[in-house]
């Protein structure tokens, strides 16, 4: 993993409640770089997050909202955050339900820039 990407993921993981974050190839749904707690199944997160992002992208286009810049899925036992990044990548973060989304979003946007 390149040091820039590693640093970017490290900054995301310092946000309290973050279980892991990764760069994912958007079209392929596979992990490019990751920093995860041992309990997190990176393969599953990458595949499912990329698929969800693709479906949301299609639906957002249908509503006339344009391209998606940040995506948040809240669930009872966790939060999934996705930010599209250059070079057809996604920055994906899995976190606890009450995580500080604003802070995660800020670090994920920085991580997206680091991929340029």
């Amino acid at each position: 993993m390149s040091p820039d990407l590693e640093r970017a993921l490290d900054r995301i993981s310092r946000v309290r409640g973050v279980r892991g974050s990764m760069y994912v190839a958007a079209d392929d749904g596979i992990v490019v770089a990751r920093l995860l707690m041992e309990t997190v199944n990176g393969k599953a997160v990458a595949a499912l997050a990329a698929s969800l992002a693709r479906k949301v992208e299609g639906a957002a286009a249908a509503t006339g909202a344009g391209r998606v810049r940040f995506l948040q899925m809240d669930a009872a036992d966790g939060t999934l955050l996705i930010a599209p990044a250059p070079r057809d990548l996604l920055v994906v973060t899995l976190a606890d339900p009450r995580v500080n989304v604003g802070l995660c979003r800020f670090e994920m946007m920085r991580a997206a820039e680091a991929a340029a």
Partner: protein
């Protein structure tokens, strides 16, 4: 043809769970045996409730029986599973156009062409709808297929649904009563008939949409660019998002999902479940903070939930 039907029937008899039911239903439809086609398609879909090709075929069968509401429902369900399904987009465009919602048809067909630029059927249908709306008389250059060579393959791969271009009864040169009446106020047309669940909310009929998990609009409405109503298309795509979110939450052991927020170039979207089988979309301007949009969505969710409970009572 009857040889095909015999062979396909034999395959389906040997393996009732086979997806070959679509080919069989389609062959029957083409032969004009619509009742039998309907039975086969419904039988297959009972086993494969998430099969977009099956719903697309069902849509064509209903359209052949002049049952447009059911055709529209079938294509909506196909789009809920596969938002970019070409046949279902073309079918939905046809159904909306025939229902007098030319602007809705325009939105759907533009989406079909955006995803499948080489598709002649979608391009012809789009031209027809644009002329009906008094837009331009010719197809815009940007809509011409990128690769001429791709045309034939696409045409043969997609069994042509009855497209507006080949339905002379409603052709725009001599608009039918239904088309003429509704096309003028198409944007409001679809939404105005829906129950006023969100009265008092900002954007009650153009930015808040209540729909079911099969992609069918229940209440509210969603306007697209130029005031085009995109409710049907959006509901279909968003129902697909909902099932994908359900799967994601299940495999990642996240429990039930409660909201999806998408910050996009022109708007922020909040999608939330409203009791079993119903979903809500709230769209807010990009300038409205996400936190505020979420709170609005919560209020709309409570209103929708109460209204749905009253309907069920």
């Amino acid at each position: 043809m009857s040889e095909d039907i015999r062979a396909l029937s034999a395959v389906l008899a040997a393996d009732p769970a086979s997806l070959v039911y679509v080919d069989l239903a389609e062959a029957l439809r083409r032969r004009g045996d619509l009742d039998q086609a309907l039975r086969v398609a419904n039988g297959g879909l009972a086993r494969h409730p998430e099969h977009a090709d099956g719903f697309d075929c069902l849509g064509r069968i209903h359209a052949g029986r002049d049952d447009l509401p059911r055709a529209r429902e079938a294509w909506g369900r196909a789009l809920a599973v596969a938002p970019d399904h070409l046949g279902a987009l073309r079918g939905m465009g046809f159904a909306l156009y025939r229902a007098g919602d030319a602007r809705g048809a325009l939105a759907v067909l533009e989406r079909a062409l955006a995803g499948h630029p080489a598709d002649d059927g979608a391009r012809r249908a789009l031209g027809t709808v644009r002329r009906a709306l008094g837009m331009e008389s010719a197809v815009r250059p940007a809509d011409r297929p990128v690769e001429q060579g791709a045309r034939v393959a696409v045409e043969t791969a997609v069994p042509a649904p009855p497209s507006p271009a080949v339905v002379p009864a409603t052709a725009p040169g001599a608009p039918s009563v239904a088309a003429a009446g509704a096309a003028a106020s198409a944007a409001a047309g679809a939404a105005a008939e829906l129950p006023p669940v969100f009265r008092g909310f900002e954007g009650a009929t153009a930015d808040i949409l209540l729909f079911d998990d099969r992609g069918l609009v229940v209440a509210g409405g969603l306007g697209g660019a130029d005031g085009v109503d995109v409710s049907a298309l959006a509901a279909a795509g968003l129902a697909g998002v909902s099932s994908e979110a359900g799967r994601t939450a299940q495999y990642l052991a996240l429990g039930a999902w409660t909201a999806i927020v998408a910050e996009a170039d022109r708007a922020n979207l909040v999608l939330a479940p409203v009791g079993p089988g119903a979903l809500l979309l709230v769209r807010r301007d990009r300038g409205v903070p996400v936190g505020l949009a979420l709170r609005m969505a919560e209020r709309a969710q409570a209103t929708a939930s109460a209204w749905l409970a009253r309907q069920d009572a």
